[in-house]
Every structure is written in structure tokens, then in C-alpha cells.
């Protein structure tokens, strides 16, 4: 059988620039660094009295959230507004789909309203890929979280947080703790850390919360929190959903906290200047002790601030990559 022709990566244009932002898989170290550098420059904008730049003036950014979210949606809205775009946010979980409209039709309708960019969150893994490939290939699609698969802007804001506090990735030990199995944040973090050259990535969880084949991410697996936290530079705690107590994944929140909860005492096993991170929303007393969440090593709120800068970077880069591709297509049509 003849092999299929190699396809251009869906999220890049012919010049290798972002035109969608779907996954951190397949993105080069240079591109990730460019996102971080761009975000760094946008952090200044947030510090100004007038917090706007005109990069997306006249463009319409449509936040389409099929799953509930406060933080991610709000920071995407702010990011788009600071880039001077017009922004609409839709909570679709409560509107069209309950009337039987398919994802396909919902997005096609929004496209017909001349949206230039979609930020999509959806409960199905691969939803953003589906939209970029089959629904609206000429609208930039940003993945705001798809099932368990990926949350690439969260991954990048975590990287920005680490870089701003630790300088670089080459000598770091980073531990990711908790429900790895169901976590799109963990998957995006592992990919980004690997690409950016972090030599020691650890995941810490009981076997029931670890996906099969976790080794493919180039991480080392720990079932014991104390052992896994030894001498790490960064601890990323994951949110534990209440429904995980059903179906035999865990006995109780109490037992989980006893074994995997981050307490002051356990944090002392990490390096003295170790960062504590969490994608939020946090469950105090379930995966993290309040004293740690609010303590001096916690950068949980910095993550939120950096999230706006990362999203500004991604929105502006994807919009320009998409425009460049349209221009390329137009030029080649004219030549033909």
C-alpha cells in the first residue's frame, strides 16, 4: 500500500508560523521560546496605565466555551481586549447544543458572523483539531482546553511562570502531582517542559491516576510524594475533581490529602526556593494546604497574571500567521 503523503502540521502555515494553536505537540523549542518572549513584552502592557495595543484592531475574537470556565475565559477576553479586538463570549453548553445543534453547525454559524478567531473549550479530546481541520480552516482556532488532551495556553503560562522565576529550564527538576490521568494541563506541561529542555520531569500519583504509557513523555514516575518532591525546583499541583471518588480511583479525599496533599512539612523536602504552582481553581485541604497555597513560595496568582500575557502572545501570533497564509494562498492563486 502506498503511504499517505506527509501532511503539513495543521497548526502551522507554509512558513512554519502558528496559524492555529491546538497542541504543544510538534512545536519547536524556538517557537515556544518566541511565544514566551512575546508574552514577556506584553507583560509591560499590563503594567501601563493604558493597557491596550492595537494589534488586533478591527478583528473579532469569539470565545466559544462548551464547558464551564471562569479564569480561562476571562483571561482570554482580557487578552483579546488588550489587543483591541472585539470580543464575544458564548457559553454554548447552555444554548445551542441543548437544542440539538451540532458542534459543526454552531461554529459554521459563528463563522458566518465574520469571526476572525475562535477560542474553543470542549469536553471532547480533539475538538479544537476537528474545528481547525473540518469546520473553519480559515479562522484561527485557539484551544482553550479539549477533554483530557491539551490545554496549551495553560502549559505556556506555566512555562512563563517558571522562566520568570527560575531563568531557564536546563537545570530544573519539576514535579507534577495529582490526577495526571484526567489532566490536560499535565499533558501540556510535560510536552512543554520536554521541548524546552527540562532534564528532570517527575509525575507523582497513585497508579489509578496515571495514564498508560506515561513514560513516552520522558518523565520519571513516583508513587510516593515525599520521594518525588526531594530537591525539586518547581511543584505543580493539579486539581482533583470530586467525581474521582467514584468508580474506585480513590477511596476518599481524606486519604488522597494524607498521601498526596501538599503541606508545609512536605514542601520542606523540595529546594528552599521551590515554586508552588496550581492551574486553579484550588481545593484547599484536598490537594493543597492553605498555608502553602497562600505562602511565600506560591506563585499561583502570578500564573493568572501571566496567563493574560501568554494569551495575548498566542492570539496575536496566530492571527498574523493565519493572515500570512491567506496572503500566500492568494498569491499562488494569482500565479495560477
Amino acid at each position: 500500500m502506498t503511504p499517505t503523503a506527509a501532511k503539513r502540521p495543521l497548526q502551522l502555515n507554509d512558513q512554519g508560523q502558528l496559524r492555529h494553536f491546538l497542541s504543544l505537540d510538534g512545536l519547536s523549542r524556538e517557537l515556544l521560546t518566541e511565544i514566551l518572549d512575546t508574552a514577556d513584552s506584553f507583560l509591560e502592557v499590563g503594567a501601563r496605565a493604558v493597557k491596550k495595543v492595537p494589534l488586533l484592531r478591527g478583528k473579532t475574537v469569539c470565545n466559544v466555551f462548551f464547558e464551564n470556565s471562569t479564569r480561562t475565559r476571562t483571561t482570554f477576553e482580557l487578552a483579546a481586549q488588550r489587543l483591541s479586538a472585539d470580543v464575544i463570549s458564548l457559553n454554548v453548553s447552555t444554548s445551542s447544543t441543548s437544542k440539538g445543534e451540532t458542534l459543526f453547525d454552531t461554529l459554521r454559524n459563528l463563522e458566518a458572523m465574520a469571526a476572525d478567531m475562535f477560542v474553543v473549550r470542549h469536553a471532547d479530546s480533539g475538538a479544537a483539531h476537528f474545528i481547525a481541520e473540518h469546520v473553519c480552516p480559515n479562522v484561527a482556532v485557539i484551544n482553550g482546553g479539549d477533554g483530557r488532551h491539551g490545554h496549551p495556553t495553560q502549559g505556556m503560562l506555566d512555562m512563563l511562570t517558571i522562566r520568570r522565576h527560575k531563568g531557564s529550564f536546563e537545570k530544573l527538576s519539576v514535579a507534577i502531582v495529582g490526577d495526571i490521568l484526567h489532566s490536560r494541563v499535565a499533558r501540556s506541561d510535560m510536552l512543554a517542559l520536554k521541548t524546552l529542555g527540562c532534564p528532570d520531569i517527575r509525575v507523582i500519583a497513585p497508579k489509578t491516576l496515571l495514564p498508560v504509557g506515561i513514560e513516552q513523555y520522558g518523565v520519571s514516575v513516583y508513587n510516593d510524594l515525599a520521594e518525588g518532591l526531594k530537591e525539586v525546583d518547581v511543584v505543580i499541583m493539579l486539581r482533583l475533581q470530586r467525581e474521582r471518588m467514584q468508580g474506585g480511583l480513590l477511596p476518599s479525599e481524606g486519604e488522597f490529602y494524607r498521601l498526596y496533599g501538599l503541606t508545609t512539612q512536605r514542601l520542606a523536602l523540595a529546594k528552599p526556593d521551590a515554586l508552588v504552582m496550581h492551574p486553579g481553581p484550588i481545593n484547599r485541604g484536598v490537594e493543597i494546604e492553605s498555608a502553602v497555597a497562600d505562602g511565600s513560595q506560591s506563585v499561583i496568582l502570578n500564573q493568572v497574571t501571566y496567563g493574560i500575557a501568554i494569551r495575548m502572545a498566542v492570539l496575536s501570533m496566530a492571527m498574523s500567521g493565519q493572515a500570512a497564509q491567506r496572503q500566500l494562498n492568494q498569491d499562488s492563486e494569482e500565479q495560477n
Binding site: 500500500m1 458542534l103 479530546s125 480533539g126 476537528f130 483530557r148 498508560v212 504509557g213
Partner: protein
Amino acid sequence: MRTRILGARVIDPASQLDQVTDLYLQGGKIAAIGQPPADFVADQSIDASGLVAAPGLVDLAVSLREPGYSRKGTIASETLAAAAGGVTSLCCPAQTKPVLDTSAVAELILDRAREAGHSKVFPIGALSKNLDGEQLAELVALRDAGCMAFGDGLHSFTNHRTLCRALEYAATFNLTVILHAQDHDLAAGGIAHDGPTASFLGLAGIPESAETVALARDLLLVEQSGVRAHFSQITSARGAQMIAEAQARGLPVTADVALYQLILTDEALRDFSSLYHVQPPLRTQADRDGLRAAVKSGVISAIASHHQPHEADAKLAPFAATEPGISSVELLLPLAMTLVQDGLLDLPTLLARLTAGPAKALRLPVGRLAVGAPADLVLFDPQGSTLAGETWFSKGQNCPFIGHCLPAAVRYTLVDGRISYQN
């Protein structure tokens, strides 16, 4: 109609015939092989030099979608697609609407298939009413209406005691049951093989143990009841090994594999393409290799298309929200020929897995070339090639092989001596 087929390489795995010779067909049967019968005057003559003549292919699993799902496929469209794939006999599963659990539905399917005339259809009856796994279907009435075997497909008995009784009842009347080994609880919520690829993509997994746990249970119940059983759609190397062990113990069990499971692995899911969404799921390279070895050794004696045509919308959604299945019956011969091209099987062995093997598993009165047998034949050019999708008769376009250049080309398919497809 009397037909003479001249100079073909005639391969009949059932009788181990493999020689260049002539075939003479008369009254829908094979009248002679080699020398013409006395007074034979041909109405038509097919010059088959360079072609292989084999028994028409027997496909144990082709969803015709009718009655109930004619937006996905009809008996006429899917049996024509089958003929184009070299198939002269096919079995259709009970997952129709209404379910194939009454004689009336069986008769309707048989009538429409006869009317279409593209290939012979042998319906598989439901084992339980409405496939609910609670009350037995009227198996004997269904047998009398033409059902050749009985099975509930992937979503069947959750109650082991009821399953046990269904097998005992079927054994009473020497009926064949078809079992799909997949444990409900272990497979619950899953959509892809529980391995690195599914983990990477964030797709919920179906572990290998979903198959092996159910298979262990089913084999024990088959042994206890003494029923004739056929295991359909084995997906794992471990599963194939368990079948081999059962056969070695003397258990009368047979097995088939979906042709695409011998070609694809779960790696194909990497771009979230819904074309590769199938149930039970595509598994690993090691599983594929184990299945190939089992096909070669004969532990798995049948290769089936497990054809599942869909309308376009069924595949137009994020992966988990799409319907599973591949439309592939019309590529059965060329796609299977890739196994010869790859050096896995020689041509007579491949044809055995596509004709005599499946026919024997369900005791179908077809699948061999012998004087007096039905003149069901496929004539194909082993040196030719097929551009998949160049012609397409199935209503389902959901086929990941479309656009590929495949080895061999079906030239004629004959059912009861009548040409049902010609290219």
C-alpha cells in the same frame, strides 16, 4: 446460461486445487473443471488467461444497514459494493431496526437481497430479543427463516447466567453462536485502545483485558455448554493466543479478524481522524503482528471486512462523538492482497481465509469450487491494481483506504453462474 472460463489459474483452497485450467458453468452450478462436459455449448466465454479464478469470497460481517438505517446503506448498495470486492456470500449482523430477531425481518432481508441479486446474503439472527441480553430470541424459528448463526454483537449479555442459558439452548439445536468478546465494565466509556496513543491524545481507553477477560469467561461457558461457537473480531495477540489454546484443548471454536485490524494500529489515531474510529478498537503493532501470525497458522480461519457504512455526518464531529466503523467490503480482495504483497501469506492461504475458512466456521454451503457446487466465483488479475475509491458503490464513504493504490483488481464476480460485477 452456459459459461466457459478459459485459461485461468484456478485456486480452490477447499480441495487444494491450484492449476491453470478451464471451468464450465451450467444451470448456476459448476458443471466441469478441465474438460467440458459432453454436449457443452457455451453461451458466453470468458478469456481468463492471466487471471486467478477462486471461489467467490465469503465475508462473515457486512452491515447492510437495512432495514432501519438506509441513510447509511441499503441492501442493494452494500451487496453491490460487496460484489465489487469479489464477495459472493456475506453474513449480515442482527443490528438492524427493527432488530433481526423475528422471521419477518430475516425474510425481508432475504427478499431484498434476492431482488438485488448482487451477492448471496446469510443473515445472523439475534441471540436475545431486541439484543437486550435478557430474553432469548426464537432461535429455531429464525433458523427456519434462514439465519445461519446467532449473536448479539459487541453489546450483549451482561448477565452471565442468561448468557450461559442462551449457549445451552443453542447447543440443544446444534446452532452456531457468534460471540464478540468484550467485557462491558472494562470497556465502559472507552473509545480507543488503552495504550500510549490514547493516553497521549487524552482518549478514554479500552484495555486489552476487556477482550481477554470476556474471552476467558466465554470459552469456559462454551466448553460447559458444548455449543458450536465462533469468535468474531478478535483484536489482541493475547486473545488470539487464548483461541489457539482452546482449539488445542479440542474445543470446537473458530475465530475471525477484521481485515483492517491486520493493517492498521492505534498509531493511526494520531491526528484524531474519525475514519479510524472503530469498535472494538485498533490495538498495538504487537497485537497486529500476533493477529497476523494467527491468521497465517490458521488459528484465525476467517478474515472479514466488518464493513460498517455511515452517512457523512456520522463521522463529522470530534473523535469521541463520531460513530465507529469503516466501510471497506468493496476493497476486500485488493486490501487482503496487501497481505500477500507483504509476504505474510501465499495466495492459496489468503484465499482459504476468505472462502473455505469462513464458510466452514458458520457451515455455509458455499466457498469451494467443485463439480455440482454453486458457480460462485471471483476472477481477478493478481498483477493488476485498484485505485481505491475510483469507483464506489457503498453509501458509506467512511474508508481511510480511499486514494490508496492497492494490489490486484477484481475483473468478474459471478453468483450462481451469473455475472454480478464486471470491471
